[in-house]
């Protein structure tokens, strides 16, 4: 559980006891915060789950059957979500994982959950393609006595999930915006551009809102904003036009490192290098570019691809009636929100091992 190995990175929104010293205020310094109390085990660069420090919770208990459903792994981050979940079943012999085929078809995902309910699994871990659309079926599961763990994209009814594991989309925007403010260093004329992901998703809107709010703190605003589709080709297409529209840019925040591959290709073919680019999500590619420090990409904001795995671990604890080891609370919490730190050349070494491959 990363919550325990790296307390400095995981403030919970309503859990003051969760964090060793860091308030939920998103401070950039937090990623250089207290050292990890347990060394992460070695992992592959494909973003396998960091093994938690062994504790009583990791000892085998009764076999737990967990149904897991997520959207189609059509980009690196989403693929890493499922890969990390699968990696857990090797780690825990008492875990019987049923992983449904990833799908972006809401009705298919609903029927997957219905199948889990009919099979009588012990818990369901669900990363919905669309949170609102999956709410009724999640309620149905809860009514059938099967706890639902909602990951990343929230249901619109708090009763539809027993535990919610969230990334911090708004916080990503805030982190990116604060980094821009820091770099702009009081220059209120800096031209800021933004390339968002799929614009109809609430997560994209949250990211943009956070970015805007953080920029407003230092008197900046977003001068040009375009939305792509989280794919390489769409990133390239949007970026090449945006660069055409804005002859001078100082900062460019791109929401997603998968589409960032395309954005960087467009920047390269336009021969532009007058600005600083910030990425999002935290792919291994982006981190390698930050390490090189030769291009425009100077930072990226993490959006952990280990959320699904965290959801499965919490589901296991829930079913085995254990609680989170480092808390006094005897039950698994209602909500865990992960932190969105900024990765720069200074601290990239700390994060590159848990990054996902595009």
């Amino acid at each position: 559980m990363r919550l325990r190995t790296t307390p400095s990175r995981q403030p919970g929104r309503r859990l003051p006891g969760l964090v060793a010293g860091a308030a939920a205020v998103l401070a950039l310094s937090a990623c250089t915060g207290s050292a990890q109390d347990a060394a992460d085990d070695e992992e592959g660069s494909s973003g396998s789950t960091p093994a938690a420090a062994s504790g009583a919770n990791d000892e085998s208990g009764d076999t737990v059957t967990i149904g897991f459903s997520a959207p189609a792994a059509d980009h690196g981050w989403m693929a890493a979500i499922t890969d990390n979940v699968r990696a857990l079943s090797d780690q825990y012999p008492d875990l019987d994982l049923k992983v449904a085929t990833g799908t972006n078809d809401v009705s298919l995902q609903i029927s997957q959950v219905e199948t889990f309910i009919n099979d009588g699994v012990d818990a369901i871990v669900l990363l919905p393609f669309d949170g609102a659309a999956m709410t009724p079926v999640a309620l149905k599961a809860m009514e059938a006595g099967i706890p639902v763990i909602n990951v990343d994209r929230e249901f619109d009814d708090p009763n539809a999930a027993r535990v919610t594991v969230l990334g911090d989309n708004y916080g990503m925007g805030v982190s990116a915006g604060q980094y821009v403010c820091e770099q702009a260093d009081g220059n209120e004329d800096a031209v800021v551009a933004e390339i968002a992901g799929i614009d109809s998703l609430p997560l994209t809107q949250d990211r943009s809102q956070g970015f805007e709010d953080a920029l407003a703190e230092c008197g900046l605003d977003v001068d040009a904003r375009q939305a792509a589709q989280f794919t390489v080709a769409s990133g390239e297409e949007v970026a090449s036009q945006l660069l055409q529209a804005e002859p001078e840019i100082d900062f460019l925040w791109n929401h997603d490192d998968d589409q960032g591959v395309g954005v960087l290709a467009a920047i390269e073919s336009a021969g532009r290098d007058e600005f600083t680019m910030i990425g999002g999500a935290g792919s291994a590619n982006a981190m390698r570019a930050i390490q090189d420090d030769s291009g425009v990409l100077k930072a990226t904001v993490i959006y952990p691809s280990t959320q699904g795995a965290d959801g499965v671990k919490l589901a296991r604890l829930l079913v085995q009636e254990k609680a989170m080891g480092d808390l006094v609370e005897v039950e698994v919490p209602r909500e865990v929100q992960l932190y969105a730190p900024v990765v720069t050349a200074d601290n990239v070494d700390q994060f590159i091992d848990t990054a996902f491959e595009s």
Binding site: G76, R225, A227, A233, E237, Q244, A265, E268
Partner: protein, 373 residues
């Protein structure tokens, strides 16, 4: 019956034969030639000559968008760089649209173009392909993409022509399976060119250098689009192949009686669009320096929209390459004007829909006026 597709019955008049009344048993080839007569007459006026009357509505729409762009974005719109950006954006959709014009004119439809582009781009950029290309020549990657595209087209064509599967259904099946196969091959990863795992990628580096080069200041992608358009126009308007396409799309039964091998011709049409997809995949790799299973997502819709507003009949039997090219340019210019004005994608989508309807309405009116003279 050798009917290779479900036409609305040979006794029911289809749209094309209403435009050019054809005696069902007549020599369609000659009739088609006669139908194209007005265009022949004005050949002296050059490439735009005959097409101009029919494409006037499109040209007007394009000019209106350009005017809006010039007024709202001024020099940022009306600059050489920006025009190049628009053309680069148009080039990939454009190449596939040329192939699609042939298929739709020939009475078919291909919904699988986006998926074929994805599959070809992935196949050409796998680590294995890249290391082989590295040891031999980067042309191997080009060959791989074109071969995959043509092979997918061949599968579509053979099953449609000889298996009597409806084009819509067949290419829908290919749409699903080709993208699925692309995901399997790439393991849903983004395959970067040259691959970071290649110790020495001098061989593949040549690919990147070639495809991202400029020819007299014009990006190679735009040059390819221009060449494909000219070649497509020539093939469509000046060769037996083009005339047969019109005949097969207009009235397959009459075409068969006139001695055209309708089935073989149908296969060739799908192979042609498949080749265009292979080329488009290479252009995607050039633009993004990656091959992924997400390339070409929803490309088929952009392509079909461009072809249809260009004036090609979805029912087959009438088509225009010039119209298709203008159709593609309308959409890419529109997208460019919106980005220059910092408008979001949703507004853009609404405008796109309106443009389709307005352009088609304009076109019908102008076409009617020019045919009644």
């Amino acid at each position: 019956m050798s009917e290779h597709r479900t036409t609305p019955g040979t006794d029911g008049p289809d749209l094309a034969s209403v435009e050019n009344p054809v005696a069902p048993s007549g020599d369609t080839v000659r009739v088609e030639r006669a139908a194209a007569e007005p265009e022949r007459a004005s050949r002296g006026a050059g490439l735009m000559g005959g097409a101009f009357g029919r494409n006037l509505g499109l040209v007007v729409a394009l000019l209106v968008i350009c005017a809006v762009g010039a007024v709202t974005a001024g020099d940022r719109f009306a600059s050489v760089d920006n025009v190049v950006t628009i053309l680069r954006l148009a080039s990939i959709t454009g190449v596939v649209s040329i192939g699609m014009t042939f298929v739709i004119t020939g009475g078919g439809i291909d919904l699988s173009v986006g998926a074929i582009v994805a599959l070809a781009s992935v196949w050409a950029t796998t680590f294995a392909t890249q290391s082989m290309a590295n040891d031999t020549h980067w042309l191997l990657m080009v060959f791989a993409a074109l071969a995959v595209g043509a092979a997918c087209g061949l599968v579509n064509g053979v099953l449609i022509a000889y298996g009597n599967v409806v084009p819509f259904i067949m290419t829908l099946a290919t749409l699903a399976s080709a993208r699925g196969l692309a995901e399997i091959i790439s393991e849903r990863r983004t395959q970067i060119v040259p691959s970071p795992d290649l110790p020495d990628s001098a061989g593949v580096q040549g690919f990147k250098d070639f495809w991202t080069a400029d020819v007299l200041g014009i990006p190679l992608l735009v040059v390819i689009f221009a060449l494909v358009s000219v070649a497509g126009w020539f093939l469509f308007n000046r060769t037996t192949f083009g005339r047969r396409t019109l005949a097969v799309g207009g009235n397959p039964e009459a075409a068969r009686l006139a001695g055209i091998d309708v089935r073989r011709h149908t296969v060739l049409l799908y192979v042609l669009v498949g080749l265009c997809c292979g080329l488009a995949a290479l252009m995607f790799i050039a633009r993004t320096s990656t091959g992924t299973s997400t390339h070409g997502t929803l490309l088929e819709l952009d392509v079909i929209a461009a072809v249809v507003i260009g004036g090609t009949l979805l029912t087959g039997g009438r088509g225009t390459i010039v119209g298709t090219v203008i159709g593609v340019l309308i959409f890419s210019t529109l997208s460019n004007v919106f980005v220059l004005n910092n408008q979001d994608a949703s507004t853009q989508a609404v405008a796109k829909g309106l443009i389709i309807v307005v352009a088609v309405l304009l076109q019908q009116r102008l076409a009617r006026r020019s045919t009644t003279t």
